[in-house]
Structures are given as structure tokens and as C-alpha cells.
């Protein structure tokens, strides 16, 4: 999901950079106030942990393998502000040391995975956890949030690529989102298994009653909420409702000299029949999938939550 350099245009890079600087500033301000001094080294160690955990490969069918992304796991373990800081550090090191993910696209990557994945995932996790109390709610919330964060990040990546004129929304949206709906399932499974493993050995590290580094204050909820919805409004909404508008924008962005030669009408007619159904189908599949995954998360939470942890609540 790391966007390399060369895929985004100037205004997309600028907008995402501004959004992630805003999110990071919010997170740092909260941490400066609430983070105890003795937990400062933990931020660096947690970032190193995410990097090391991403190297461990989980076998999938046919010799392929997947790995943890970790945004929701870190948000559940350390809280939203710390998650933004830790994931930002991970993305910076991945970019500057390993050239994984672009340097100019760093803002987009931090926004998609760190801020939306971390804070957005945490918000979903807390909502579910409020519905289902106790350790079972932790597992269910983490599973659902992990899946959602992968899906939302994929939608954002698709929007950013489409607005930059790199690929058409009708192609990039189904391709990115369908793949990541599946990746999200793996991410949810790994997140749940890791959380259960930690619940078994050190349950005090995941205390559903007292979330790490404090719950979000109203001001922060408004701040993060505005950043995330601004991102969605900028990169997704142009395509979501009036799709030909999006096409025109994309084509206009590309700045084809020869585009004037072909009149727009036949092109739209040739594209629309099969293309307009693809995003719609993907959106429908996404909606149905969300409900299914929510139910699945509930079932999984019933099955895998350690009994001792359930009894002790």
C-alpha cells in the first residue's frame, strides 16, 4: 500500500503533506501533555517492533505470504496519538533507509496508513468496544477495525491515484479495493491472533477499562475528524457521486494535447457501459462485506477470546 514516488501530482502531494503534518502536530501535542517520560523510549521500540513484525511472513495458499500492517494493532496497544507517531516513524525509516514508499509521497503514505489507519481504526475499535464490553469487545473491535482500516486506506490510495491522473478511478478503485478487502481479512486475523496472544501472557498491556495514553478529548476528536473527512472529501468524493465529472477532471489533469481531437462524448459512451458498473459493484461488495466482517468479527471474538480473561471481568 506504500505509494512510490512518481505516481502523485503536485497538488495531491501538497494536500496530503498538509493533512499529515496537521495530524502529526495534533498527535505530538497530545503526547507532550499525556505521555509519561518513562514511556518515551517505548515509542521508538514500538516503531522498531512494527518494522520487525512486518518482516515475519504468514504463509497463505500457494507459496504466497502476507504480513502484518500493524496500524490498528499499535493503536489498540498504545492509543491513537502514539499510533500516529509510531507509524510515522516506521514510514519515514522505510522510505529513507529502504526506499520503500516515495519520499515525496511520504505525506500521502503517512495520511493513509498512519492517520486514517491509526486514528480512524482506533475510533472504529472504540465504537465496537463500547457496544461489546470486556476482552471480547477488544478482540471484536480490533478485528473489525483492522479490516476497515485496510479498506479505507485502499479507497484513499485509489482516490489519490485517480486525482493525480495516474489511473482511472473506474479501474483503480475496484482493483485496489477488492484486493485490500481480502488483505484486510488477513490483517484482521493476524491482529486478533497477536492480541489474544498478548491477552494470554500480559493482559494488563491491553486493559479495556483504561485505554493507553488516555482517551481522545473532544477537541482531538474534532481535529482528527476534520482531517480525515477533509481527506475523504478531497480524494474520494469527486468520484463517489458524479462520476463523469471525475473523468473530466482526470482527463483535464492529464493535459493531453491530442485530447481535443477526440470529442468527449463517444469516449464517455465507450467507457461507461462496463466501467460505471465496476465502482458500483465494488461499493456494493464493500457494503455487504462490511456487514459480513462485522458478524464474522463477533463470531471470532466469541471463539478465540481466552476464557480466563472473560471470566475475570
Amino acid at each position: 500500500m506504500h505509494i512510490p514516488d512518481g505516481f502523485l501530482d503536485g497538488k495531491t502531494m501538497g494536500a496530503t503533506a498538509a493533512l499529515s503534518v496537521g495530524g502529526l502536530a495534533l498527535a505530538l501535542r497530545q503526547l507532550r501533555r499525556n505521555l509519561p517520560r518513562r514511556r518515551v523510549p517505548l515509542m521508538g521500540l514500538a516503531a522498531a517492533f512494527v518494522f520487525a513484525a512486518q518482516i515475519l511472513n504468514f504463509p497463505i495458499a500457494g507459496g504466497t505470504s502476507g504480513h502484518l500492517l500493524g496500524s490498528v494493532l499499535i493503536a489498540v496497544l498504545l492509543g491513537p496519538g502514539a499510533a500516529v507517531l509510531v507509524l510515522t516513524a516506521v514510514l519515514i525509516v522505510q522510505c529513507l533507509v529502504f526506499a520503500d514508499g516515495g519520499l515525496l509521497a511520504l505525506g500521502a503514505n503517512i495520511f493513509n496508513m498512519g492517520i486514517v489507519g491509526g486514528v480512524g481504526g482506533y475510533a472504529i475499535y472504540r465504537c465496537v468496544q463500547r457496544l461489546v464490553p470486556g476482552p471480547r469487545g477488544v478482540v471484536m473491535g480490533a478485528a473489525f477495525a483492522a479490516w476497515c482500516s485496510a479498506a479505507i486506506a485502499a479507497v484513499l490510495v485509489a482516490g489519490e491515484l485517480a486525482i493525480s491522473g495516474t489511473a482511472q478511478w473506474a479501474i483503480v478503485f475496484p482493483a485496489m479495493v477488492n484486493v485490500h478487502l481480502l488483505i484486510g481479512l488477513g490483517e484482521a486475523a493476524i491482529t486478533v491472533l497477536v492480541i489474544v496472544a498478548i491477552q494470554r501472557t500480559r493482559p494488563e498491556l491491553i486493559d479495556p477499562a483504561a485505554p493507553a495514553s488516555g482517551a481522545l478529548s473532544n477537541r482531538q476528536i474534532i481535529g482528527y475528524g476534520m482531517l480525515i473527512s477533509l481527506g475523504l472529501a478531497l480524494f474520494v468524493s469527486p468520484f463517489a457521486c458524479t462520476w463523469p465529472d471525475g473523468l473530466e477532471k482526470v482527463a483535464g489533469k492529464l493535459g493531453f494535447a491530442h485530447r481535443a481531437l477526440t470529442s468527449p462524448a463517444p469516449m464517455a459512451a465507450y467507457k461507461l457501459p462496463w466501467i460505471s458498473s465496476a465502482p458500483l459493484g465494488t461499493s456494493l461488495a464493500g457494503a455487504v462485506g462490511t456487514i459480513l466482517v462485522f458478524i464474522l468479527a463477533f463470531v471470532v471474538a466469541r471463539v478465540v477470546t481466552p476464557r480466563t480473561a472473560t471470566d475475570s471481568r
Binding site: I3, P4, D5, G6, F7, L8, G10, L24, L28, L31, L35, R38, R39, V40, P41, L42, M43, G44, L45, A46, A47, A48, F49, F51, A52, A53, I55, L56, F58, L68, L85, V86, A89, V90, I92, V93, L96, V97, F98, A99, D100, G102, L103, T166, A167, Q168, I171, V172, A175, A189, I190, L193, V194, V196, A197, I198, T201, L254, F256, R259
Partner: protein, 198 residues
């Protein structure tokens, strides 16, 4: 063998001796030029080639890194093919992405990360972020080796394992790694305090 991500960042060469801030600024300028106009491709390629030769990094190593990272870019670039004039956009993006990749690979392999951190600190990056980056880089290799040890220990004790068992035991390794990281962070904090960290 210790795990290294940037094995050539500490060899001696004219490029390595340049100040980190200069290299970072030059790298950013090259990236911006590459991304903004196709006219920059030829000069940028010449500059990168010169830098690669001067830096005395084995060309095979650069090529290997490029081949390792290129598929990630190609996977997304293929989506660009499905549109009017897709072939041209595809070619543009692939050239752009390759030049950018080479720039960042050269930057990371001619500049030790610690020097980049010093540049960040001077550029007034928030102290908490710099500390986090520094500790992350310092303990990255330690934790990777630790997880590798745990994985090996598990492999030694398991004759044959199905996929679901593999997932479960790998998840235990990851969970254990997090617990060990928190414990290590506490010890590091004590050590930092003992050395006068305020």
C-alpha cells in the same frame, strides 16, 4: 551475520563525504524535477549515473535493490494502462518511478541515517519524533534478530505444522516480541536516566 539495510552507507567516497543536508536537498530537488516534467529525465539520469559511479557502491548492489523494489511500482503502474493513451502514461510513470527509486536508494546508501537525523534536528523537527526515529533505527536490528531467534527456536521444536498452527505460533512470536519490546523500553529508560537524560 547482522542484518543490515544500508550496508554501503559508511564506505569512503566523494559522495559519502558531502554533508548530509546537501545530499538531502539535492535528492529532493532531483525528485521534484523528475516528478514535475519529463524534460528533466535525461539530465537527472546523467546526474544519478555520475553519483552512482562516484559513490563507489557496487553497481550490482544498486541493480539488485532496484529489481527488488521495482515490482511494487510496476504493480500500480499497470493500472495506468487501462485508459486512453495508457501506454504513454505507463511508460512515463515507470521512468519516473525508476529514477525516483534510484535517487532514494543512492541517498540512503551514501548517507548514514544518524546524519539525516542530525539534519532533521537542526531543521527543528519535533524532539519526540527525532528521539523516536533514533531509537527505532538503533533497535530495529536488535528486534529483527530477536524475532529471528524466536522464529528459529519455534522451527527447531516443530516437526511439521499446518497453516493454521503456523499462523497461531507466528502470532505468539509477534505478541511476545511486543511484550519484550515494552520490557526493553523500560530497561532503556532506566539506562537513559542513569546517564543523565532529563
Amino acid at each position: 551475520m547482522p542484518f543490515r539495510l544500508d550496508p554501503h552507507s559508511r564506505i569512503q567516497s566523494p559522495v559519502h563525504r558531502l554533508p548530509a543536508a546537501v545530499k538531502l536537498a539535492a535528492g529532493l530537488a532531483i525528485l521534484v524535477a523528475t516528478v514535475s516534467t519529463p524534460k528533466a529525465f535525461a539530465p537527472v539520469a546523467c546526474v544519478l549515473l555520475a553519483a552512482a559511479v562516484l559513490s563507489r557502491i557496487p553497481p550490482l548492489f544498486l541493480l539488485k535493490r532496484l529489481v527488488l523494489l521495482e515490482p511494487l511500482a510496476l504493480g500500480v503502474a499497470i493500472l495506468a494502462l487501462f485508459q486512453p493513451h495508457g501506454g504513454r502514461i505507463f511508460a512515463l510513470i515507470v521512468v519516473k518511478a525508476t529514477l525516483c527509486l534510484l535517487t532514494v536508494i543512492l541517498l540512503s546508501n551514501t548517507t548514514p541515517f544518524a546524519e539525516l537525523l542530525r539534519v532533521f534536528r537542526r531543521a527543528r523537527m519535533p524532539a519526540l519524533l527525532v528521539t523516536t526515529l533514533a531509537l527505532m533505527y538503533r533497535y530495529l536490528f536488535v528486534l529483527i534478530e530477536e524475532s529471528e531467534r524466536m522464529r528459529r527456536a519455534r522451527a527447531c521444536r516443530t516437526f511439521a505444522e499446518g497453516r493454521s498452527r503456523a499462523w497461531k505460533s507466528l502470532a505468539v512470536v509477534v505478541g511476545r516480541l511486543f511484550v519484550r519490546s515494552t520490557e526493553r523500553a523500560e530497561r532503556i529508560h532506566a539506562a537513559m536516566c542513569a546517564r543523565g537524560w532529563k
